[in-house]
């Protein structure tokens, strides 16, 4: 049937079952193998705040070009129970397959457009060793449907289970092979589409949280303190794994206030410290952000946002901590807020954050989100390069200068044009000073003198005036029919949507902000000035990004509108396409 098969650039596969049934590792197996073969992969999981039981699913898109989002349709659905079919079959496109375990007597609902393939997954698993291997049988069957060769799966199994002994390796291999053969012999390759040829390269499969940890290490971070919280815990867990290679240390703190104070203490003492958390923990860190800002102590805080407010939906996507990141903490406490929009940018921002924190002597917040933090994607190895920037400790007073000054002379908070005063760190003779959250003079001593207060507030607020990183990146024409604007994981979704819209003949631009504090006013204005329409797409309920723009006088005109989503499910490119199509006149494809 090869003759009737179309070659497509992407195929979406999904496995579903109960939480605790190994859905994660099954999806990872397929994603890893595809990635190693040279395909581009994007993984997405739907899971609950629950350990065992309850439906979960893992969708892996595999393509010949880079992928950045999850989409609405699926070609192959692997169902480990009937619930999976009931909840997901509607997204299986006509001609697609539902690959289900015979054991639960699967059936498709009335009118489903997919083919049901019943396989004796459990039975085969038992034959090759244990019922636990059921998912591996499904992986093999999927490989056959996807037309992937078995070789790479064998090497995956060897690498993955090598340490567990030859028998485990063999039985896993057997499970995969049996699943593969089962499809080949029983149904053949039935999909009417066929994935294009892979384009091998030097790539990694990783999450934004992996990138955060790697960026931190590359950026010289050697102290991390955090309190577990979904979806941020694995930043800490990755560092626990990697830090021993570089002498670093992770402290699992008793709470988030302790965590951030530890990181601040580390910064004061001259090391590079960070913490990572999500909304509830971030709310607990507000007082400390003010302390770091007031004492001009470098510290890096990553907020992997999730659905709020309060406990909200801990395993669901959202971008709703923006206003708190920019304005949180009482009083006026200057800070930098970076907004990476891809795994590569997470790596870059995490790495740069430490130079920025030292350079501007203030807290640097990194606004990630659940989608960006948790979902695995193919990334070029070259984008994860620890040499991308040199360690720059910013303004430090030299030991010689201090020696020349002698005792009690050094002014830690000396006023100058830049507002950034050279700092000393403990251990430097004659560099002693008081770092206090109280208002203080140039020498650090507490004072309530009104004139001093004015100078010091000015110093802290205006040192960020020279912040000169690229504020807004744009793809596509500036005078587009519509300019899509976003931050974080939404950007990848918009990029996929943009391609589609372009295919429909629209001139579409995509702009994303690389930081929110200090707000890149001119860059934002410039990026959006010429667009016919501007659609600010945000995964929150109140349009926080657009609000931040509006304070700056950008976004009040009628050509601006918001597209918001807050139900916990990320936007799909399709949704964006539909929304934009509704806003724009239909165009012919040229």
């Amino acid at each position: 049937m090869d003759s009737t098969t179309t070659t497509v650039p992407v195929i979406a596969w999904k496995i579903g079952g109960d939480q605790g049934e190994g859905i994660d590792s099954t999806g990872d197996a397929l994603a890893t193998v595809a990635n190693r073969m040279g395909y581009y992969v994007y993984g997405y999981k739907s899971f609950s705040s629950r350990i065992k039981g309850g439906h979960t699913n893992y969708k892996v898109r595999i393509g010949v070009d880079p992928l950045e989002a999850t989409t609405e349709t699926t070609e192959i659905l692997v169902a480990l129970n009937q619930e999976t079919i009931d909840k997901n079959v509607s997204e299986v496109r006509t001609g697609g397959f539902v690959l289900a375990d015979q054991a639960f007597k699967p059936h498709l609902p009335e009118g489903a457009a997919a083919h049901l393939v019943e396989l004796p997954l459990t039975e085969i698993a038992k034959e090759v060793g244990s019922v636990l291997m059921r998912n591996m049988v499904a992986v093999g069957a999927s490989a056959a449907l996807l037309n992937l060769p078995l070789g790479p799966f064998d090497s995956y199994v060897e690498r993955r289970f090598g340490s567990k002994g030859a028998q485990i390796v063999e039985s896993n291999k057997a499970a995969i092979r049996r699943g593969f053969e089962e499809i080949q012999t029983r149904v053949g390759h039935l999909l009417d589409i066929r994935l294009g040829e892979p384009r091998p390269g030097d790539r990694l499969l990783m999450t934004g949280n992996d990138a955060m940890a790697l960026g931190a290490i590359a950026g010289g971070c050697r102290i991390m303190a955090a309190y577990p919280i979904t979806p941020a815990s694995d930043v800490m867990e990755a560092l626990i794994k990697w830090f021993p290679l570089v002498g670093g240390v992770v402290v699992q703190a008793e709470d988030e206030m302790a965590a951030v104070l530890m990181a601040i203490g580390a910064g004061f003492a001259g090391a590079r410290g960070m913490t990572a958390t999500s909304g509830p923990g971030f709310s607990l860190m507000q007082e400390a952000i003010g302390l770091a800002s007031m004492t001009e102590t470098p510290v890096v805080i990553a907020d992997i946002q999730r659905s709020g407010p309060s406990t909200g939906m801990p395993t669901k996507q959202e971008q709703s901590d923006l206003l708190q990141m920019v304005n949180g903490s009482h009083g006026e406490a200057p800070r930098i807020v970076l907004t990476p929009s891809s795994i590569e940018e997470v790596f870059a921002d995490a790495m740069d954050a430490f130079n920025l924190a030292d350079g501007y002597q203030c807290p640097v917040l990194i606004a990630s989100d659940l989608s960006l933090g948790l979902w695995k994607r193919t990334v070029e190895r070259s984008a994860i390069d620890y040499r991308r920037a040199a360690i720059d400790r910013g303004e430090l007073v030299s030991p010689e200068e201090l020696l020349a000054l002698g005792r009690d002379v050094f002014k830690r908070y000396e006023l100058n044009d830049s507002g950034i005063s050279p700092r000393s760190v403990p251990g430097m003779p004659f560099g002693q000073f008081l770092a206090t959250g109280n208002e203080h003079g140039e020498n650090g001593k507490v004072t309530e003198d009104p004139a001093n207060r004015d100078r010091m507030m000015h110093k802290r607020l205006h040192k960020l005036d020279r912040f000169d990183r690229e504020g807004v990146l744009t793809e596509g024409p500036k005078d587009a029919d519509i300019m899509l604007v976003a931050i974080g994981s939404t950007v990848g979704i918009l990029r996929e949507a943009k391609r589609d819209l372009e295919a429909h003949g629209h001139r579409v631009g995509l702009s994303w902000l690389r930081y929110l504090s200090p707000f890149p006013v001119e860059a934002t204005r410039a990026a959006l000035a010429q667009a016919q329409r501007v659609l600010v797409v945000e995964q929150n309920a109140t349009g926080q990004l657009l609000s931040l723009m509006k304070v700056q006088g950008i976004g009040h005109e009628p050509r601006f509108s918001s597209f918001l989503k807050v139900n916990g499910v990320p936007f799909t490119p399709e949704e964006v396409v539909r929304k934009v199509s509704g806003l724009l006149p239909v165009r012919e494809v040229v």
């Binding site: 290679l245 530890m262 580390a266 410290g273 770092a435």
Partner: protein
């Protein structure tokens, strides 16, 4: 070798005349000299309160944090540079009210930090509310009819929490206090010195005179064994914690820094953070 003058600052004290905190400051400064500590390697992490101002009067690297959170900051400092001497100081409110959680956890972790709690049974800086160590019945601005809460017993609590060094000093008894501070700094691990430091302005009950007649000096208690935790608890109970001296020290204490897997033997601060290519590859290997 540093002298007393090396540990003083030009800052004029903001404490009330007669405040017990002067004695704490004096004993600490003397101890720093006796310990032959260098002012550049000294870090004082102080809390918010009258007591927390102590950092302002000592020449060292001083971090004056938010209320109640000296200990996590101090852990960060110590782990950033294990060569530093790290001393925390703050009041009974800072330590045992808002800071209670951190206090309990710092003791469990046993990082090499010395913690001086300047205990006056009152909130001084906020003008005289009762504190967690206030006695039952004590009348203050917020307990005009007398305190109805059971006081925190810092020493027994520390023992229960696994603290490896527990002592109590009295701001008026300088030689003993100074010697306790020195022992605490030398102790490899977390060391608590709760210091009775009377507030002459807001506490007219627990005065110098009152303490002088109420305190038992453990140094004078025949056969007191400061390595026996259960015995220590019994003696504390017997004296309602009104003792001074070394209450307990675990001679086998190994600080957190020596136990943390893979943690650098040399200070993290001041390293160049250069990475080796091989190490980077090893990290990425799991992501291939």
């Amino acid at each position: 070798m540093a002298t007393l003058a090396d540990f003083k600052t030009s800052e004029k004290s903001w404490w009330c005349p007669g405040c017990g905190d002067f004695g704490v400051l004096a004993a600490l400064q003397k101890s720093l000299v006796a310990l032959d500590i260098n002012p550049d390697e000294l870090t004082i992490i102080a809390g918010i309160g009258c007591s927390g101002k102590i950092g302002n009067y000592i020449n060292g690297y001083n971090l004056h944090v938010v209320h109640g959170r000296t200990l996590p900051a101090a852990m960060g400092v110590k782990l950033a540079n294990r060569d530093l001497k790290v001393i925390c100081a703050g009041g009974d409110g800072d330590a045992y009210a808002i800071g209670m959680g951190h206090f309990m956890h710092a003791m469990r972790r046993n990082v090499d930090i010395t913690y001086l709690v300047m205990d006056n049974h009152i909130y001084g800086l906020t003008k005289g509310q009762y504190s967690p160590t206030s006695d039952p019945g004590f009348q203050t601005k917020t307990t005009p009819k007398g305190n109805i809460e059971r006081p925190v017993h810092p020493l027994s609590t520390a023992l229960a929490a696994g603290c490896t060094f527990v002592a109590q000093g009295f701001s008026s008894w300088q030689p003993q206090l100074a010697s306790l501070i020195q022992k605490a700094v030398r102790h490899p691990g977390f060391a608590l010195v709760n210091i009775i430091s009377p507030c002459v302005t807001y506490n007219k009950i627990n005065t110098y005179d009152w303490y002088k007649t109420s305190l038992t000096n453990l140094d004078t208690v025949e056969g007191y064994d400061s390595q026996n935790r259960v015995e220590a608890l019994r003696v504390l109970h017997e004296h309602d914690e009104l003792v001074t001296g070394l209450v307990y020290q675990d001679p086998t204490s190994v600080p957190y820094e020596d136990l943390a897997p893979g943690y650098s033997k040399t200070p993290l601060a001041g390293q160049d953070y250069a990475l080796e290519d091989a190490v980077w590859k090893k990290m990425l290997a799991g992501l291939e």
